[in-house]
């Protein structure tokens, strides 16, 4: 035990850069969880009226729940990448006599240490963030002016506990995959996940139609439906791409390897497609539904109730959080996937590809991925938006124009293409012959 812990600490100290992505996810996750859970502390303070307390607790409950899930996914994504990049080191330790249990302790120990540092760093920002959040609630009249911000034990301990536990769990799963030695077949689990999320998503969309147009919870089923459909479609996308790619008219010197490379790697693309599709589906659905909701309230000619304002604040916050985390996961997965291909790029260059052609190939690949993500995400979002708009108003589509959608797509394109191309450009700068030798 002691040995592995020492090794873990050494590893973190000597190569802090490798843990940057994990640290960032833990830090942001902990900051969000603590910021919102400090609303629990604030609500629990003596002398807070019930309307204010209700607003604060709802905000804390909803976003805190999302936050936990997101921390887990983001940390899991960064750790999976981290473990895969270190497969050589882990293999070396295995050959030197480390048992799988020892390796597990090492990786989990590292993850816990990094997560703890991230969570502690987040305490200060979360205190400030909590104060700002309370101000927002007070400015909009959702919380009484007399309420003071409290950063108490609930915020602190939930932040630390959730972040550290999520990191430990994610690390455990990541290392189990790396050390089990043989490939587990994931086919059945994947199929179940796809069918489950698509069925639940469809069900959630259907539930929307059962609700009445003024139901307070009307926005929840289509929003969850859009999320689940995004995930289900993203998991389906590798198979979809495989059959579509054969028909793409991409020939040229960059298009040819791009298409064949993508077809052969479709199974690994889920790690990129899920955050990409989720980001587009979630952001588009929530932003348009909130727009429709605002228009409907305006049309009714009544002033916005506290609940309506709460809902808007929460929606926008949740979108913001998901955008940030999806971007972290997307950038991290793409960065890892591209760096991992150093040897492949070297081989292509030895076969006569210029650096420009390699970048062209990466560009085409990311374009195909982005377009797929945009199509699937928009489809999932449309399912949610159409069902919500139909029930809430008389029309089928929101009267909002394409501006929001274009903005969401622009962010997705920038993140996907930017990360892939910049990473590939850095990888291509190594001479081809050493790129091939390094990984050999």
């Amino acid at each position: 035990m002691f040995t592995m812990f020492t090794l873990a600490m050494r590893s973190v100290r000597q190569r802090p850069g490798r843990f940057a992505a994990t640290l960032l996810s833990a830090f942001l996750g902990a900051a969000i969880i603590m910021t919102f859970n400090s609303m629990h502390d604030t609500a629990g303070a003596p002398g807070v009226d019930s309307v204010s307390a209700n607003t604060l607790s709802t905000a804390a409950g909803v976003v805190g729940g999302y936050g936990t899930l997101l921390v887990f996914f983001a940390v899991a994504s960064t750790l999976t990448v981290n473990v895969r990049q270190r497969s050589a080191e882990i293999e070396l330790l295995r050959c030197s006599g480390a048992t799988p249990a020892q390796l597990k302790r090492m990786v989990v120990g590292e993850a816990v240490a990094v997560a703890l540092v991230g969570a502690l760093l987040a305490v200060g920002p979360a205190m400030l963030g909590g104060r700002v959040l309370l101000d927002v609630f007070q400015d909009s009249g959702q919380v009484a002016e007399s309420v003071d911000h409290t950063f108490g034990p609930i915020a602190l301990f939930s932040g630390l506990d959730i972040t550290v536990l999520a990191a430990a769990g994610a690390a455990f799963l990541a290392v189990r995959r790396a050390t089990s030695g043989r490939r587990r077949s994931r086919g059945r689990g994947r199929t179940f996940l796809v069918r489950g999320s698509l069925a639940l998503g469809g069900l959630a969309i259907c539930i929307t139609f059962v609700l009445s147009s003024t139901d307070a919870a009307l926005m929840a089923p289509p929003a969850y439906g859009a999320i689940l459909l995004s995930v289900g479609l993203a998991l389906l996308s590798p198979g979809l791409l495989r059959s579509l790619l054969g028909r793409l008219p991409l020939r040229g010197p960059s298009g040819y390897p791009a298409v064949h490379g993508l077809r052969a790697r479709t199974a690994e693309l889920a790690g990129v497609m899920v955050p990409l599709t989720l980001f587009i589906g979630m952001a588009t659905a929530t932003l348009y539904m909130q727009g429709v909701e605002n228009d409907a309230i305006d049309a009714a000619g009544v002033p916005k109730s506290v609940d309506a304002k709460n809902l808007e604040t929460l929606n926008l916050t949740v979108v913001g959080i998901i955008v940030v985390f999806s971007c972290i996961m997307l950038v991290n997965s793409l960065y890892a996937a591209t760096t991992y291909r150093r040897r492949e790029f070297g081989q292509q260059r030895l076969a006569g590809a210029t650096p420009g052609q390699v970048l062209g190939m990466v560009g085409i690949e990311s374009l195909v991925l982005t377009v797929t993500g945009v199509v699937l995400g928009t489809g999932a979002a449309l399912a949610g938006i159409v069902s919500f708009t139909t029930v809430r108003t008389d029309s089928v589509l929101p009267d909002r124009g394409l501006g929001i959608w274009l903005g969401v797509v622009a962010v997705a394109v920038a993140a996907t293409m930017g990360t892939s191309l910049v990473t590939a450009w850095r990888v291509v700068r190594t001479p081809a012959i050493s790129a091939v030798a390094l990984a050999a």
Binding site: Y256, P257, Q347, L350, A351, A432
Partner: protein, 278 residues
Amino acid sequence: MFRRTGTDRRTHSKGDHGKGAHGAGGHGAGAADVALRLVKVSKTYGSDDSAVTALDEVTLSLARGTFTAVMGPSGSGKSTLLQCAAGLDRPDSGIVTVDGAEMTGGTEAELTKFRRNRIGFVFQQYNLLDTLTVAQNTVLPLKLARRRVNRDRVRETLTAVGLGDRLGHRPDQLSGGQRQRVAIARALVTEPSVIFADEPTGALDTRSARDVLRLLQDAVRVHGRTVVMVTHDPVAASYADAVLFLADGRLAGEMRRPTVDAVAERLAHLGDDVMAGA
């Protein structure tokens, strides 16, 4: 850009320059018959105290249609020689010409274009793309250079290396020897002036190694290519027309019509020669 003084490469592709047994030194050969020429090529790694001179003013020229092995102990500079001659690395000084065209230190893209039209590679680790099939790997250099792909010719080449029935296989479905034969086919389809082979048999069993070496011989005798092979294996070297010995970054002798025993003997005493010469 690159200056071309030689005649067009494609006119020499029919094997009509069958000077297979001509030997490597070829100093007397006319400029048009020289496939590869190095003039005072030097390369130093590191700086100041830790500097290592991998190549020390190496000058050589190889005639078209010859099969030359480059041998030497570890650290003698044979890999550096191959990389500098093949445009994979830039020499600190000196001139490299392939088929009469001088290789200059342009951009990486210019170097790549120079390489892909004149040079073929065969590596110890094959360096085939796992995502492409045998046929796709073979035509990749043509696709990248935007050259026309003659399917029949590709099939012919792959059949000639014994893989006519494996066109749709992926590299990971092939044995090491089969992979190396794909690599040879890939090096042949672009009809390069010079094929560089870096320890092509280093990862193979003796039977596969023999097949690969025979194919390299055929590349010279049947297709009229020029082959330069870096190896540490006297058996592999005995398939060549001539052996160049390298020690401490300098040429340390040449042997024509090498035999396994003679090469092994010479290698064993290579250190002595250098000591005596110093």
